[in-house]
Subunit: 394 residues, 2 copies
């Protein structure tokens, strides 16, 4: 039988992320391709205890639960956000199945086909996939290492009248960069001037390598709780398999997201929610985050040294100030799509930059993950990778 | 600030289910309003063991996982379905966050605004909420206690050229009825004749009170795996808080649902998935289901006796053959919306039938849940309810 599908399936991306995950799982290939935290760092014992406590805390904990999420969890997340200056009413927080679902549900309540979203370029590819599935038009804004460029942003706001500006201002994926305080102020001022909602996606905010120098979260700067919808997750700091994230911002938007969430899946896994409450109460997550930071920083520095020592002419990168990735610009003549199979043959994988760009055009860039390999494997993998980059000229 | 939302939010239902859940949680009211399984029956010890085993089975179990779901779980679900004659390749199964998400993701890949879906009337209200959020048109089909009426179904297929026929053929919510084998064959034959996809929603199939007399699942009858997309869940047989369901059917549809799922939330909670694998391997779920069946059947019979003994003229119902609900037709002059606050004042709650109808018009019907109250509370609650129905004439 021939099926008649929804028009939106034409805009489904045939799933770059899944293809990446397939490469990751190949036997003896050292993969810098994925976006995985190091499972060796997972606080397994604390997670085990937290789930045990959750499951045995009374049968009600295993029953259907409220769509918005557990109040006890929302209160704890509000307290944690407050430490970063983000002041939110727990009732304006909604628990999601990872921040991916937050992006999806926000899109569901905001976007009609043809609506315009402004983004950095490159940006988080799975956000681009979501936006595309809602048949929106994504317009990239010129950026430098401090964030979007004011002139281009204001021009494009005036030209395209966007519904939303989507940004990952702190340790962006794939770039690893941090927006300056001044650019953040500029972004919020333009959002206020032209009445545009900002989505601040903050999955990596806790993975910072130099805690002293952090600018404010946009959500912290939006004192009236009017312009910034903020999402974050525990996937990078506790474990991804718990699938817990949250979204918070203007009351009216969060209320509609709750209605969308109810239709989408009734509520987020509540055993995980109860377990996270226990984990946040019983376990020193901040100390654990310090360990994660130190471990990832060490790996980042090893990868940086390997890149530097290889002295490949025309290869440039920005040292990541946090997060999980190096974003590497290759000499213009290099074609990372053509290089990838050769690299895999030589026992190392990366992600070509293409899917992170709004226009999906080929470019001489690649993303390297440094969190999911041990220092030894980073050394060995980078030896293999830089050998390919030094000798293969395609 | 005034926000510009997506057009679809106009079709969001301001959430009858949530309102119902709020009534449920009031202190000393005996509630027949919810759709909750009895948490006293939850296999807490087995769930606890299964999660412990899952969490301690290696850190990979806590990592990001495949969008489609764990293969080991899909294989076990395929084996369980096979016992019901439903033969599916595990690769054509996708694990969802409850069957609610299955309905949502299926809708996402199938429906454009204005597309027509044929349903029973009344039917599962949260499916109606999903369909409405995709701006579809739902057309009700005349039914009797054996299922949809052939003539009306064929007429409306010809008139409306529907994309899909959505049915809950086994212990429907709210009706509790079972389609006859003959009507199932008729439905499938018409689907084949006119090339319409059937969504078979089967959350209650395991909760049957008389196992001898079950007709075939539509998915079992669809030998070519062409016309029936089937969804089920463990929320009624294990625990709802694990948020696990699945969807299976034509390969092409399931493949697109996987792409939608990736954008929606990357993958379903994988700790829950691993735990369910262990639970299905280590625990006698079928014996547990027998206990659930016996317990719920006893409660259903008590509620039936209370309804019969009250001898309220003009009150009729069909004895449920399984599932969780009585669907009660009241005398025409009665207004269940007006009765509800009086009933709650008198310490008992029910759901007025209205939100289960496609047209949302008021009707003299109510849904009574018998699974979430003990026999004693059913006796007491029914005493209160029948007293109200016998004395209050609005």
């Amino acid at each position: 039988m021939k099926y008649g599908f929804a028009d939106r399936v034409r805009y489904f991306d045939s799933s770059a992320v899944r293809d990446i995950l397939k490469v990751v799982n190949k036997g003896d290939v050292i993969s810098f391709a994925g976006g995985l935290p190091d499972e060796g760092l997972f606080p397994v014992e604390a997670v085990d205890k937290a789930f045990h406590k959750a499951i045995c805390s009374g049968n009600k904990a295993l029953q259907y639960a409220e769509t918005e999420g557990l109040l006890a969890l929302k209160e704890l997340l509000a307290q944690r956000m407050l430490k970063k200056g983000i002041e939110k009413d727990p009732n304006d927080i909604l628990i999601t199945s990872g921040s991916q679902q937050a992006i999806d549900l926000f899109s569901r309540v905001m976007f009609n086909p043809g609506d315009v979203i402004l983004t950095e370029n490159p940006t988080y590819l799975a956000a681009l996939q979501v936006f595309s599935s809602y048949e929106t038009t994504v317009i990239p804004i010129d950026s430098d290492e401090d964030g979007m460029i004011e002139e281009d942003l204001e021009d494009k706001i005036k030209t395209y009248k966007p519904k939303c500006i989507y940004v990952v201002p702190t340790f962006s994926n794939p770039g690893g960069k941090v927006w300056s305080q001044q650019r953040r102020e500029m972004l919020l001022a333009l959002a206020e001037k032209y009445h545009v909602v900002i989505m601040e996606d903050d999955p990596y905010g806790d993975i910072q390598f130099d805690p002293a120098s952090m600018p404010d979260s946009l959500a912290a700067m939006d004192k009236g709780n009017e312009y910034v919808i903020y999402t974050s997750t525990i996937s990078k700091t506790v474990v991804p398999a718990m699938r817990l994230g949250w979204i918070t911002g203007p009351h009216q938007i969060v209320r509609l997201i709750a209605q969308a969430k109810q239709a989408a899946d009734l509520h987020t896994n509540s055993i995980s929610q109860h377990a996270l409450v226990h984990l946040l109460n019983d376990y020193d997550l901040d100390a654990h985050i310090e360990t994660i930071r130190a471990t990832y920083k060490e790996r980042m520095l090893i990868m940086k040294r390997c890149l530097d020592e290889a002295k490949i002419e025309g290869l440039t990168y920005l040292e990541p100030k946090g997060g999980m990735f190096f974003w590497v610009t290759l000499p213009d003549y290099m074609n990372p799509e053509a290089l990838l199979p050769i690299a895999v043959e030589n026992g190392v994988a990366f992600v070509p930059g293409q899917p992170f760009y709004v226009d999906k055009k080929k470019r001489s860039t690649m993303r390297l993950n440094f969190t999911n390999s041990s220092p030894e494997l980073i050394e060995e993998g980078m030896k293999r990778l830089t050998a390919v980059l030094s000798t293969v000229h395609i």
